[in-house]
């Protein structure tokens, strides 16, 4: 990529100086829990990032081949056939791309925000299926489609997705973490 010069320029002290000036005096006055959080936060974010990446990557993998994923989307009865097919094919790809970006730590804050929005969309979809009394598997991981009445798990699915929203929220609010491409670009150091 052509980020070479920018990396050099931005990595050469200015952000460091800024950070030191900003956090230095604050740290001294801060209560111990705040200092501890400041030390732990990058690692907490790293764990959340990698966990989200794993979840998204696994979700994408289990949705393939797309014939299964299209079926899951159609089961929601929210979209016309052509749209359902398009979503069924592109959704696993989008999940995979987001997983890749989270793992690389590129545009961490914004990718986490996008992931959170995606999860909120999933929650809305599951809630609408629930409200309409459909009997479907959410198709979140692997095969969706119809299930027998009483074998739905909408509550569990939504609770799990809320957990994922929380993970995404943490990464979005505190994007600073080690092992990220953002650092090479001089962000969130």
């Amino acid at each position: 990529m052509n980020t070479g010069p920018t990396e050099q320029n931005t990595a050469s002290g200015r952000p460091d100086g800024e950070a030191a000036a900003a956090t230095g005096p604050e740290d001294a006055a801060a209560p111990p829990w705040k200092a501890r959080w400041a030390a732990a936060q990058p690692w907490v974010t790293l764990v959340c990032r990698v966990a989200l990446a794993g979840i998204l990557g696994f979700a994408a993998y289990t949705k393939l081949p797309p014939a299964l994923s299209i079926q899951s989307v159609e089961a929601y009865q929210l979209f016309p056939a052509g749209v359902a097919e398009f979503i069924g094919i592109t959704l696993p790809l989008l999940e995979f791309a987001l997983a890749l970006l989270l793992l690389l730590g590129l545009a961490t804050r914004y990718v986490a925000a996008a992931t959170g929005l995606l999860m909120l969309a999933f929650i809305a979809g599951i809630a609408s299926a629930w409200a309409r009394g459909l009997n479907i598997d959410c198709g979140c991981f692997g095969t969706g489609g119809a299930v027998a009445p009483g074998e739905t798990a909408y509550g569990v699915d939504i609770a799990r997705d809320i957990g994922f929203v929380v993970l995404a929220g943490i990464v979005m609010l505190w994007p600073r973490s080690p092992l990220s491409l953002d650092r090479l670009a001089g962000l969130y150091r």
Binding site: P15, P66, Q71, E74, T90, Y110, T143
Partner: protein
């Protein structure tokens, strides 16, 4: 004065530096966000291309298709020595449509090259689900069987899946079914007659017969045993308990139901039939890999040659008139041609 001016200048410089820093940061953010957008676009575009190529497949010159005595159809090159791929599908089942869309043309292409013997075995898992699910399923299945008489089963099979009604919507109307027959080149008037006759039987089954049978069976057998019972056993139970099924005699609707009952007996254990689409490669049930044309191709390539477990209708007739089932059905009134499928 001088001091104040200097302080002001320093302040201004500081402000400017701050602004520059903010600008630099904004540029860095734009850079990483831009790079991330490019990554997403690349992954989705390349992935879409790869996945669509797997699903694609052009029109192929179909190899001969042979109607079997049980109403199923074998599509294979003459004298092909290849693995047997058995496809159990219900024309009203959405997953079957997905299977067909993802792999249908790849399967036909393999059959045309003599790499696989395809055994189409239409069933009706929705038969007892009333209107419109059950009747759609039976009308579609019976019409496909009638198309097999005209030697156009495979073409008609594809058209039915293309036009599958959404789950729970009415569809596969007799007029549509006849029109699609014309579209695939069936000009024998016996096809249209048969479709009309079978559609009436299917509707009667779904509207009157199935609810009566289910209500009676619910009371005496319980819901659990009904759900696990092959549909043909349930029909036989009905005959013994005052729910007359004689209107089904010699119909393709009954043939579809018998095929559905038969597959339950044909496979057990880990190969047991549990819903559609079920695909068996040389009698071994396939998993989700069947939904991908490329993994299906490699599974077929690794399998040994096999033999279809059925008898061609032509052999069973002794007479053996050239085109086989096609001419036979054309000449017969609408009830007789399925009689030979009973034995």
């Amino acid at each position: 004065m001088g001091k104040a001016a200097r302080r002001e200048a320093r302040e201004r410089l500081k402000q400017q530096r701050l602004k520059e820093q903010q600008k630099a940061k904004r540029n860095r953010v734009l850079l990483v966000v831009g790079a991330a957008v490019v990554v997403v676009a690349l992954v989705v575009a390349v992935g879409y291309f790869v996945l669509m190529r797997d699903r694609g497949g052009g029109e192929v010159e179909l190899p001969p298709q042979a109607l079997q005595t049980d109403g199923s159809v074998v599509l294979a090159e003459d004298g092909a020595s290849a693995p047997v791929l058995e496809i159990y599908a219900d024309y009203q089942c959405p997953a079957c449509k997905q299977f067909e869309t993802a792999t249908g043309s790849a399967i036909q292409e393999m059959a045309a090259k003599g790499e696989v013997i395809v055994h189409y075995r239409p069933v009706s898992i929705f038969a007892l689900r009333g209107e419109p699910l059950g009747s759609n399923s039976l009308r579609g299945g019976a019409a496909a069987r009638a198309a097999a008489d005209a030697g156009k089963f495979v073409e008609y099979n594809d058209v039915l899946f293309e036009n599958q009604p959404a789950e729970g919507d009415p569809g596969f109307s007799p007029d549509e079914l006849k029109q699609w027959g014309e579209d695939v080149g069936i000009d024998d008037p016996a096809f249209a007659e048969r479709v009309d006759a079978e559609s009436e039987v299917a509707d009667r089954f779904a509207q009157d017969y199935a609810p009566e049978l289910l209500e009676k069976a619910q009371g005496e057998l319980g819901a659990d045993s009904i759900n696990t019972m092959p549909v043909t056993d349930l029909i036989a139970w009905g005959d013994e308990n005052g729910v007359d099924s004689s209107f089904l005699d010699d119909t393709y609707v009954l043939e579809i139901l018998e095929s559905t009952g038969a597959v339950n007996q044909r496979y057990d254990g880990e190969n047991a039939f549990a819903g559609t689409p079920s695909v068996y490669l040389n009698g071994a049930k396939m998993g989700n890999e069947m939904y991908s044309a490329s993994s299906l191709r490699s599974a077929v390539a690794e399998a040994e040659p096999g033999e279809p477990q059925s008898t061609p209708a032509e052999d069973a007739e002794d007479g053996g008139d050239g085109e086989g089932a096609g001419g036979d059905a054309g000449a017969s009134p609408s009830t007789s041609p399925s009689a030979d499928a009973k034995e």
